[in-house]
Structures are given as C-alpha cells and as structure tokens.
Symmetry: C2
Subunit: 223 residues, 2 copies
DNA sequence: CGTGCTCTTGAGAAATCTCAAGCCCCGTGG
DNA sequence: CCACGGGGCTTGAGATTTCTCAAGAGCACG
C-alpha cells in the first residue's frame, strides 16, 4: 500500500462549474467542483462527514486500515457514483483518488434541508443509499466465494459499471483489487492469468481486460 | 429471554417496553404488531419492499441464496433493531425469524411521508440507515480475516448488542453463524472449541457463551 | 541503460474444507 | 423408566485452496 503524497487539492470557484458537461444527479446545481491528484485523500476516517460527493471523472476507493495493518477496500466509485454517506456524523472509511479525479461536493446539511421539501431530491438520496446497500450486499457475497469467483464477480461488476463494450480499463492496481476482494496480490494475479489461459478474458495490458467469453464468465461467477 | 430494547434510535429512556409493545421509536405510534414462529419467513427476496420492521423480541436473520445454493446471511437482528431497508423498491434479501419473534411493521410510504415534515423522524431514519451501513462495513472486515478473528468478531458484536454481562445467549445455530461468517459449520465449531480450550470463553451449553477473558478476546479480534 | 514500480510465477507452508463418524440432548413412545 | 430417533454439534484425517516468501519479468521514466 502506497504512502500518499501531499494533499494537493485545487479549489475551483463555483462559477467554473457552469461550463462543465455534467449537470446530472442531485449535485449538478449546487455542488462545488474539486480535483484530486492520484493517491490523494478526499476525506479521512473519523473526520466529520460534512459533505457528500459525486464523482465526475476518475476513480475513487474507500477503505479502512484494520488493527493489524491490513487495508480493507470497501468500495470503488466510478464517474456518476455518489459517495460519502457511509457515515453518521463522522466518516467510517477514508476515501482516496485512485487516479486524477474530479468530484462535485455538496454540504450534507444543505442537501438534507433541500430534500425535506423537494420530494424528488429526497427520493434520489434514498435511491443512492439503497444502491450503496445493494453494493455492500454483493460485496459480501463475493467475499464468501472462492478466489476465482471473487475475481470474476469483480470483473462482471466493473464491466457493468464502467463500460458498454467488452473491454474494461481498470483504474486500480492489483493490490487495490486484492484488498477489495480479501485476497493476496499473488492470488489475484494468478487468477487473472488462469482466466486468460482458459480463454475467458484477454489481458491486453495488465490494466486492460477484454472479456472474450461472457457466457463462461457468468457461469464462473456464483452470485 | 431478554426483551430489552437497545434502541439506538430512541432518545426515550431505555426502560419502556416490557409486556406490550407500543410506544417507542419511530414505529410505536403507527406500527402493526406481527408474530412469527421459528424459521418462518417475514419477507422474501424480490418481494416489493412495502414495510419497515422493528424487532420487539426474538431474533431475525436476513439472507440470500446464491446461485450455487450456498446461503449468505447478511445480518442478524436483535430486539430494538430496525430492518427491511436493504432495498430500493424490492427487497434484495429474505428475512426469517430465527426463533419465536415479534415485530412492529410500518408502511415505508407512511413513514417517508411523515419524515418529510418531522425533522426528528427523518433524522432517526437516516441514523438507522447509517447504522446499517456501518454494520455492513464491520461484516466486510470480518470476512477478510482468519476463522478465529471472524468468530471472535462475531462474539464481540453479539456481546455488545445482546447483553450487558459476560454471558451471551445465542439464538442462532452454528450453521447460521457459519453462513454469516462465510465458514463451514465444522470450522465454526472447532474455533469455539479452541477458544474454550484457551480459556477465552466457556460454553455452558452450545448456545450459551460466557466471555471469560475480555482482554484476550479483544486482542484476538483484529478489527 | 539504470531505477523503481507493478505484476507474474514458483514452491513449500498453513489454513480451511470435505467427508465421515460419533456424541449429546431431548422429546416420544413402548 | 428406558430405548429410540432426530437434530444439532463436535471431532478426526486427508484433500484442496490460499498464503508466504522469494525471485524474475515487463514497463515507464529520467
């Protein structure tokens, strides 16, 4: 796991946002755009959970460092995803940009207040929360499976979320994937190799995965 | 069996229920009481998620049956806990009574409508959701650990939630625990035995666990 | 061309699972 | 009162999966 560089956030005035292409979701109108460099922290565990975030571009991981030093990655977020409400008053995970990323951040309070009289916004927030819970559930299902099923499940999920076609561009390292799946990096790597050898995927580079046999992929994924 | 409300939602003094369930939490005023016998279904996966539930007494498990037939238990609920919002419009788990149980059920819609003009209720619902997310997170942390850490973590959690003193009355079977922890029943059993042999716990009966060495227990639990 | 990452591969060690058997508790019926 | 049977739990031993430790390969960058 890598140590992080200095916290280089560039704060763009709200006016910048007016030109941005992405106005969708509950964050479009009132959010503040923020950029984060690779491996920089967006928020830390136990910090007051003052904001919610929607990812514009890039990729984000949330994680906890366990007592014994292992890192547990809770979720990966891709453009469009909303994150930051795995929390009561304080975050219970940290969040980092996996690569150069931009988010829209919105004060929770402001959002809650608005939601209390905008039915639609309230609905969107609950939907986002339900999605979060569903993702946790799927993540749990992965963790009780074999190494192969975990990796396959991860790939299926990424394919669904990140791409329309058969090639996935993975923003995260093997170590990230290992920490997400509760495996060692070696086991993840071996499993990729094995999937390639059986013709299920092709690895154009280590971060670029082509799904060559969707049927078999789905068969190998238990969930 | 203990019928105590460890109702994290309620700011009422925790003395209230005893005998007739009515009164407390977001469910007291408008809920309908329902009873379920051991091993009966409260709701099924993919059913429309029309209600939220608060457990009055007994114990509940939520679970999914995976494609390969294994059962993944997502959560256990104890008296006072609120469940049923691991869902958008449809449940994505099933829920069953582990033993004779009583719940208060409330229509989601009704609750949402009320929440939209009662700030306090809205707050309680979000708190309950945040708690749910935190539990998922802890569950994930367990699943990436060793068998011993999983069992210890489970016991610590049950102790915190179910009892004030050092003896836990487990309502669920070894198989339930195994399906919650992603282990086999044999491994769970062996781990209990081993914890007993090292003096960390005592098994008065297989369902009654006495914590004899809290310090060591905490040390063995990683998270 | 080195240097520093990240990723892959190999081989033995350790944890967990699988299959199989036996035990315990308890309710039932002779 | 005791034998019987079933469910839930425990224990054992070998098979399998995953981890650990160690080394090598691929690649980007100065």
């Amino acid at each position: 796991m890598q140590t992080q560089a200095t916290l280089s956030l560039s704060h763009h005035p709200a006016s910048v946002f007016r030109g941005q292409p992405r106005a969708e979701g509950p964050f479009g109108m009132i959010g503040t755009p923020m950029r984060y460099a690779r491996n920089t922290e967006i928020y830390g565990e136990a910090e007051p959970a003052e904001y919610l975030y929607q990812l514009v571009f890039g990729a984000v991981r949330t994680y906890k460092i366990l007592d014994d030093g292992r890192r547990q990655i809770g979720s990966f977020y891709l453009p469009g995803d909303i994150f930051g409400f795995e929390a009561g008053d304080a975050h219970n995970s940290s969040a980092e940009a996996i690569c150069e990323s931009q988010v829209m951040m919105v004060k929770r309070n402001a959002l809650m207040v608005r939601a209390s009289h905008e039915r639609d916004l309230a609905r969107q927030l609950w939907d986002a929360t339900a999605l979060e819970l569903r993702r946790f559930q799927e993540h749990l299902a992965l963790l009780i499976s074999s190494a192969e099923e975990r990796v396959v499940g991860f790939l299926i999920d990424m394919a669904r979320r990140a791409t329309k076609n058969a090639t996935i561009e993975l923003p995260m390292s093997r170590q990230d994937i290992a920490d997400y799946l509760g495996l060692t990096i070696e086991t993840v790597s071996r499993t990729f190799t094995q999937l390639e050898q059986t013709g299920v995927i092709a690895l154009r580079t280590s971060r670029r995965v082509e799904l060559r046999n969707r049927a078999m992929l789905n068969r190998l994924g238990a969930s």
